[in-house]
Structures are given as C-alpha cells and as structure tokens.
C-alpha cells in the first residue's frame, strides 16, 4: 500500500483545514448586516422613477412619487418641481429673447430698406436738377447735337 492508497483510504478525507470558533454561527448575522448596509446604500443613491401621464392631476403625481420613495424618506412632487423650476425659467427667458431679437432684426431691416430707397430717389432728383441748372445754351445745343448723331 503506497501513500496515495493511504490517502485514498483516508475515510473522512480530511483537508486539514479548520475555521475559527463560532465562525459559521456568527456568519449569518454578519452577512445580514452586510446586506442591510448594501440595501441602505442603494436606497440612498437611487432616485424615484416618476411616470407622469399627460393629464395626471398634481395630487396623483405627488402620491405616486411618495409611494415610490421608501421607508419614510419621502421625495415630494414639490421638491422635484422646485429643482426643475430654474431650468424652466431660463428656457422661457431664452425663448422670449430669441423672439424679441428676431422681431427687432426684421423691423430694422425693413425700415433701413425703406429709408435707403427714399434717399436714393431724392439723390437722383438733386443730381438731375444740379445737372440741368449748370447747363447754358451752348451746352444744351451741344447735347442735342450729340444725341442727334
């Protein structure tokens, strides 16, 4: 019989490994404490999922959020709304600014075009008047003669 046969016939097949006293007795309590800790951490980090319907009344939405929050740590609809409010105001302000700016640009452009056209027409008359005023009889004869050719 060699040494391996001896091991094979060990009967209890012991590994020679042992555990500290009361290890298994205490393990369940330790594990439960770890799970509780993990669950508490998860609750802290998780945010409630809000499923808002298009025509859901305020009170119903508030109730839904409160139902989803766990163990007394309530997250109300008001607190969610108060967080979203500044962003909504900012968006409204940008939209209003954009509309005003667009309207102002359009008005200014039209006005400028109208003024430009008036100035142009006025300038044309002034030039013609000046041109005719500065002509003497000789110039008129010369002009007619040149056009006749």
């Amino acid at each position: 019989m060699n040494e391996f046969d001896e091991i094979k016939d060990f009967g209890t097949k012991k590994t020679g490994m042992k555990v500290p006293d009361n290890y298994f007795e205490d393990f369940t309590a330790r594990m439960n404490a770890l799970i509780d800790e993990e669950d508490a951490k998860e609750e802290e980090t998780s945010t409630p999922k809000i499923e808002m319907q298009p025509q859901m009344p305020y009170s119903e939405a508030n109730d839904q959020i409160e139902d989803q929050s766990k163990e007394g740590k309530k997250v109300s609809f008001n607190s969610v709304l108060s967080k979203v409010k500044p962003f909504m105001y900012m968006a409204a302000m940008y939209i209003a600014l954009f509309i005003c700016f667009k309207f102002f640009i359009k008005e200014t452009t039209n006005q400028e075009l109208r003024v430009d056209n008036e100035i142009f027409a006025e300038e044309q008359y002034i030039i013609e008047d000046q041109m005719y005023a500065s002509m003497n009889d000789y110039d008129i004869m010369e002009y007619l003669y040149a056009n006749a050719e």
Partner: protein, 185 residues
C-alpha cells in the same frame, strides 16, 4: 417551526415581503457547504471568508433573476466557483503570474495559514492538488472530498459528464504521481 422546501423558498424569494427571510434561510442552509467549496479553491480562511461574502452578496443582488430553471444549490455553487476563480485570477495578476499557470503559488498560503493544522500527508496532498490545472483541481476537490455526483458537477461547471470523468481520472493520476515522487525525496 416553518419547514422550507426548495419550492417554498423560491416562492418566498419572489415575494418582497418574505424575500429577506427566505434569503436568511438560504444563507443558513448553504453557508457551510459553500464555504468548504470555496476554501478548497482559495486555500486561506481569510480569503474564503471574503469570497463567501461576495458570493452571497452576488446571489442577493441577482435573486430577482433566479427563476428556478436550475436547482438553487446548483446556482449558488456556480456563483461560488466563479467567484473563487475570479479571486484566484486577481491574485495571479497581482503576483504577475500567467492566468494559465497552476495554483502552486497558494502552497505558501497553506503552510502559513493559522487555520490549517493538517499533518505532513495532508499538506502533501494539498500541494499535489495545487499543482493541477484549475479545472482539474476543482473537479478533483468536488469528487474526492465532497463526493459530488458527476451529474451535479456537470450542471455547476457546465461540462459534460464524460469530460468530468476523464478530468477526474487524469487529476487522480497526477496527484498519485506527485505524492509518490515527493515522498521519495
């Protein structure tokens, strides 16, 4: 006292009100078997304790996905084996060893572990087992020490019964050779 069968445990796990109590029952029921399974792979008690905690924590996090397609014990043993292998691979990476290398580096842990009081023969047997490739080592441990049925091992390790039998046969041969060669020294 309430008698928990596997079916009632699974039903209770699916109910939020009874889930926690049912999981405590699972811990009580399987902690010892899982511990020894893990301990034989990772060798030191401290490491086995860490891996056992990770194993139950993983089971708790994923308990909602357990639908009873396999036995609860099979599912838990599979988690335990995977967690143990992951742990060993991390140790190998820390020591800059190849992941394909055997687990002989754990021999030192065994000799220095306060919770190992085996005699020379048991130490030699453990060293022989540590010289085996990882999969053969797990198969040998499950079959030799725990006398786990090949069918159950097949479910846990996701390997065919034929392959497991061959693996155990080769492992036993290697262990025998190791002991014979080292006892002659």
């Amino acid at each position: 006292m309430t008698e928990f069968t596997e079916e009632t445990l699974i039903l209770q796990l699916q109910d939020e009100k009874t889930k926690r109590k049912a999981f405590t029952e699972i811990i009580n029921r399987y902690k010892e078997r899982l511990y020894w399974q893990i301990r034989k792979i990772v060798i030191s008690h401290e490491d086995a304790d860490d891996v056992l905690q990770n194993c139950f924590m993983k089971a708790w996090r994923n308990i909602d996905n357990f639908r009873g397609d396999s036995k609860l014990s099979t599912w838990l043993f599979r988690i335990a084996v995977n967690e143990s292998i992951t742990f060993i691979n991390k140790l190998k990476q820390q020591q800059q060893l190849s992941l394909d290398s055997d687990d002989s580096f754990l021999s030192d842990k065994l000799s220095s572990d306060d919770f190992f009081d085996g005699d020379e023969l048991q130490l030699l047997l453990q060293k022989a087992i540590l010289s085996l490739p990882e999969k053969q080592r797990i198969v040998f441990n499950m079959r030799y020490f725990d006398e786990t049925k090949y069918e159950e091992m097949s479910d846990i390790l996701n390997t065919s019964v034929g392959a497991l039998k061959a693996s155990y046969h080769i492992a036993a041969k290697k262990v025998e050779e190791y002991i014979l060669s080292h006892s002659l020294e």
